[in-house]
Each structure stands twice: as C-alpha cells, then as structure tokens.
Subunit: 436 residues, 2 copies
Amino acid sequence: MTNTLRLGIAGLGTVGTGLLDIVTKHSASLAVRAGTPIEVTEVTARDRDKDRGVDLSGLTWAASPEAMATSENVDVFVELMGGDGEPAKSSVEAALRAGKHVVTANKALLAMHGNELARLAEENEVALNFEAAVAGGIPIVKTIRESATANQISRVYGIMNGTCNFIMTKMRNEARDFADVLAEAQALGYAEADPTFDIGGFDAAHKLAILTSLAFGREIDFSAIYVEGIEHIALDDIKAADNLGFKIKLLGVAVETEDGIEQRVHPTLVPKGSNIAEVEGVFNAVGLEGDSVGELILEGAGAGAGPTASAVMADIIDIARGNVVHPLGLPVSMLKPYKRARMRAHEGGYYIALELFDRPGEVAAVAQHMANQNISLASIMQHTSDTVEKGAKRETAPFILITHDTMESDVRTALDEIENGGHLASKPRVIRIERF
Amino acid sequence: MTNTLRLGIAGLGTVGTGLLDIVTKHSASLAVRAGTPIEVTEVTARDRDKDRGVDLSGLTWAASPEAMATSENVDVFVELMGGDGEPAKSSVEAALRAGKHVVTANKALLAMHGNELARLAEENEVALNFEAAVAGGIPIVKTIRESATANQISRVYGIMNGTCNFIMTKMRNEARDFADVLAEAQALGYAEADPTFDIGGFDAAHKLAILTSLAFGREIDFSAIYVEGIEHIALDDIKAADNLGFKIKLLGVAVETEDGIEQRVHPTLVPKGSNIAEVEGVFNAVGLEGDSVGELILEGAGAGAGPTASAVMADIIDIARGNVVHPLGLPVSMLKPYKRARMRAHEGGYYIALELFDRPGEVAAVAQHMANQNISLASIMQHTSDTVEKGAKRETAPFILITHDTMESDVRTALDEIENGGHLASKPRVIRIERF
C-alpha cells in the first residue's frame, strides 16, 4: 500500500457514480478522517461508452473486473456490480487472494457465498466490508459487529425492502389495491419491471441472511429462510388489521429459539404505535434486542446512490484507518453451523381471514376446529366488506380471527380441517403477528 | 499492555456494577470479539463497604481514582464516577498522561473539558472513548465518528433526556399536568428529588455539546447552548399542539447556518407522524442529516445500567482491537473554533399562545403587530380552555398562533409590542417548531 489509499471501482451504476461524486466533493475531509488521501485509480464497467455524467478522465479503465482485482495500482477493490454470480464472485475472490481489501454492496453475493468469502478474507488478512449490502445507508453491520459486541442478541428484525414498504404504506394510507400501487411504484422507479425479487421477499431475505449470521454467530444460510412476499395482501386485510390495532409490514425476522434459529421474511402484523410500525414509505429500519442494550432501532434510507455510497465510503475509511474486523463478526472457524427451526414450530399470534358460507352453524364449526387444536382467540371480527351491492343477498361472510400465541403447526392443522369440512368459500388468508 | 486487557473501574454505581456483570457473564465471547481476554483488575468507589450485590473478591481496591489511573495493573481507566469536577477530571487526566486508554460515560466532563481531554489523549496516543456519554446504549458517537464520515452533516438533533420524554409523553397520553407527572416520575425513580438538571434541559445540553462537535468538526462549547426546559409547558399547550398536528418534545438541535452554529435545547413542536414524534416514554433517539446518507435516526435506551454498560464495553472492545480514533472525530488541532449563531437570528416556525382580554379589537390589534414584523401566520386557533365555569363570564380568551418560518427577533419584537400595548392578561407562551 502506498501512502495514498487507491480504489478500483467495479461497476459504475448509480452507486458507483455516487461514490465518485463523494470522493471528488469531500476529498480533503475524507483524507483527514482516513488519515491518508483516498483516490480512485481504476474503474471498470460493462459499457465503457455510456455517458454517466461524471468525469472519468485521469482514471485507468481496467480491461475487466478480474484484471482490476489484481492490479498493482489498486489497494481496495470496490465491487458494485451486484449479483451472486460472475463477474462479481470471481473478481472478489481474486482480489482477496491478491491481498486486496474488498468493499461491496452486494447482498446476493454475501447471502450465497459469504462464509467462503469471509474465510478467504481472513486467510489473506484483508477486510471484507459490506455495510452497504444491508439496508443501504443504515450502519447496522457496524452496529452489530462493533457496538452491540457486549450483548447476547435474541432477535434481529427489520423493514429491509423500500419497495415493499412503499407499497404497504400507500395501500393503507390511500386505500388502494396492491396492483394499483405496484404500478405507481414501477412508474416512480421504486419497483422493477419484473418486481418479483422485491415483492416476493427475496431481496429482504438476502439481507436477513447476513444479519442473522452477524447477530447469532452462525454461518450464513440463505436457503434456510422461510420467504413469503406481499403479493397476496388484500386491501381488506390492511383495513381489518387497522381496525384491530395493527399495520401490515414486510418484515425480516431472525430469532434464536430452543429448536434453532427461526429466519423468516413475510408480511407481518405489527402493533400500531410500535417503532417499527411507524416506519413508512421507502424508509428502512433494522432493530435488534440485546441482553444489555435492550431494544435498538436504526432508521434511514435503505437504497439510493447517496446513502449506499455513504456506507461504502465509511467502509473504505475504516480500511484506511486499519480498523479491520472479522467480516462476520467472529472468525469464520468459530461460527456455529446454522441450525434451522422449522416454521411449523414457530410460536406467535396469527391473523386469519376466512370467507365463510353465510349459513347457520358455520362460525360454531370454525370455532370448534380452533378449540380442537387448543388455539385461543384474542379477537374475532365479523368484517363487512364493501363488495356486496345494496339489496344483493350475501352468500358468504368474511370472518377475521386474531389468535393468542400458538404453534404454527396447530394453525395449519385447524385450517386444513376447516377447509376439508367445506366451510370456506375461498382459501384462508393467514398473516403472522410479531410483538414489539 | 499484557496479553490480557486489564480494566480499572472508578465508580461502582449501577453502571459500574452492570459492567462487572457483563465482564463476568460474557467473558468468553468478549475475548473472541476483542481478540484478547478482558479482565477487571482494580476498582475504586467512594464507599468501600456498601453491598452492591456483586462479587468484588479477587479485585484490588485502589486507594483512589488518581492512584488507579496510574496503576501498573491497569491498561484502561474506566471512569464511571460522573461530574465535571474532581475526582473525575484529575484522574482522567492522570490516566491519559500515564498512557492509559480512558473510557467514560461522563457527559458533563466532556461537555466542559472535552477539547483539552481529547488533545491530551492525542498527545499520549491513547483512546478517549465516550459512547455511553451520549444517549446511553445508542451508538451515535460511533455512527458520527465512523459511519457518517463521508457526509457533510447539516443538522443533528435528538430526544436525549428520558425523564423529559417520559413526562411529555404522559402529560399528552393521560391529559395530566406537569407537576402531577413529575411527581410520578420521581416516585418511579425516573427523576431526581431535585429534577432541575433533567427538566431544565441541562443534561440534554451536555450531550448536545458533544454531538455538535462531532457532527460539525468544531470545538465543544457548552456555554454557547441556548437552554430552555420543559417546566413551563402547560397541558393546554400540549392539547393545542395536538389539535394543530404536533407533539411537544424536549429536543436538542444543532444546525449549521450562515451565521455560525445554532445549538439549542428547548421544548419543540414536532409534526405528528415524523419519526422523532413517535419516540415515546423514556426512549431516546438521535438523528442526523448528511449530504449523502440523508436522514438517519437511531433509537434506544438512553440510560440504565445495561444499555450504558453495553456502550462502555463496546468502547473497551474497540480499544482491545486497536481501533483508536480521534476522540472528537478530527484531530483537535483541526477542529474549527465554535462560532455561535445568536438565537435572535434563528429562523423557524413558532407556536404562540396568548391570553387576550375578551373585548372587541384585541385580535385585530394582535394581528396588526404580527403583520408589522412581517410575520406570516400558518394557523390561528381560538382555543377554548376548560377553566371557565358554566354561566361564568369569560374575561379573557386563549388565542393560539402558528407562524410560518420567521426570525426569532421579529417574534420577540412583536410580542413585546403586544405586551406593551396592554393586550395580554398573562405572559405569552412561545414554543419553537422544528420541521422534519
């Protein structure tokens, strides 16, 4: 390493150009904070000729990410290409093997290959920093790795996908349908043309996989996450939840239980007035519960060029100052293997929306099936929807239940029996409740 | 330094004993995270014989804080005595001069002597860490010093006194008077017998003085803070604010303006639905606005043995890992001198509650005085209080104004004229509005 810390940036999308902006705009103060000047020496991206609105003169254009990863003129390989495959994976591996520090915003890469990459960084005694990979500008990685270090963490959770939170917030505030709000989010650029990755919960799951490892000292296991998206949430559910004192959010939650770690991403009823319920729009928030610190919640922008580049630059300054930590908090060799708690063993409250045939005895039958599984009901609501026209005879009736804490397997058994008993006009809708 | 990091703890109140608990309970994981075993070797406190419910056997009882500060058996001097005077000041100075790292939770000491102590730490190439001094378990010091490093910060603010937030929350939620809720807070141990330090805003001001320096790269100047407490907030103000879409919180705010830095602690109207408005009870929250990261808010427990000891221990682990930063973010020699912006030059919205004589022309006269100072009104409310008995003739009428952004000096001039004009039955009540 020369006296200047030399960056090679792979990927010049919004975050890459945002990073170039920061290096130019704040070079003097960055040098003071870092204790050494910070300079971008090389860049590379798929399309060399694209106009990105930033001045790339004076920068060497590397032939490929892999070539830049081992360049003599680069001390820190900044990976902003994304994706868990190539060229991100091989170039990050090459950089680590060449003894270069790596800073990345790539959640997919870490969720899928984080254990091996962290091991590689440790073997080569270099940093693998990824603050920007989880919740953008929110310093949750550093908080778990360096601030909550005296705590045994019992739960980590968050609103980690701005697209979903934007949609859920708008649906509730403006009483609009999912499809309608999704279309607006796409028009605003908050959602992709193919929105599956966000609304299906997979983006949040990538982030949760990383947080779970940091919080519980376990190996990352993305495949163990139970994932359910927001695409089936009806406006009626949002209204009913509201009446019952809840908002619906897409949460990622990881909890240590007797059976192992529960890792789940799903729409969730959260009590109105709780901190997490008040996080609205594209904002993200991540919370943790520690045995000493109690509840700690960080809120901020989870995406966007500025916030993400801010997090990337903080990682770079840490490297300049020599503050190199184990990528996953503990040495990889000390991480416990991931032990999955089965969702059927999950215990919690449930929101259950049933469309019952409107005839005598149906409610009694449903209640009996619940009782057979020892499910205790906290609230029952005969929820009248607006879909029956005046004068028309209602043939089915919506029926909403809130359960006390119960086993997921019992809920599933009861619902199977209710369905098999011919009581339901449509599939039951079930949403888990999280207490705060 | 031996292979073990040896702590000397000065002060064995709730935080000191909380720290001993953590060291005992989590010694194995602390050693892994720190990369070296952490051990308490010496302790000292005012009363040696007091039963603290912790095992002190095996620990050397130092004759005095000063003696422990220079002990051969101590690597880190942990100052948990509090107060900006002796023995805290001299013993911290002695420790730094002796080349010992110092970790402290002492906001008063830093607010009054932080510049000199930071310089002393830098001269002796040791750490002076104080995460616990600002907002307890919330890692705001580390966030500004190490995570927001790529940002120019334009505003830092927060709810930094749990006692005041408890009182304001209860007054609003239970429609109770200040004195009544204060008495409950005292009974619960949330407020001292002499509550002046908390409710007068001085505790929050100590914390703000530190944050301002970190956020703006300026020397600490506690004496420059404008401080106003919550003792004059009436339940009527809380109700009126509520009707107008606001909650009242004791905020500390520091903003960079053209005239210098505004540093102020005062009751503040904050818009309902904003993140800061939803922080309730004894919870604290600190926010910052950076040019890249945007808005970032951290919420958690601002006091208590566990959260505070958690922050102290994180500081200690940083020292063990060799992560030593400039105490005030920048080298003290590079901090700009503090430049105070005068409160009269403050620009913002105002809540103004007037008790007018109930006779023709009074409202017109008040409005004219406001117009004379070019004060533009956003809302006007004829607020009917509950104090007039049925059938009794009302001789005065409460009159509430919300202004658009205006200069504080203009508000003061207008109110002086209104008062001098004999329009007011009692002193006007003025509360600043902060936008989020």
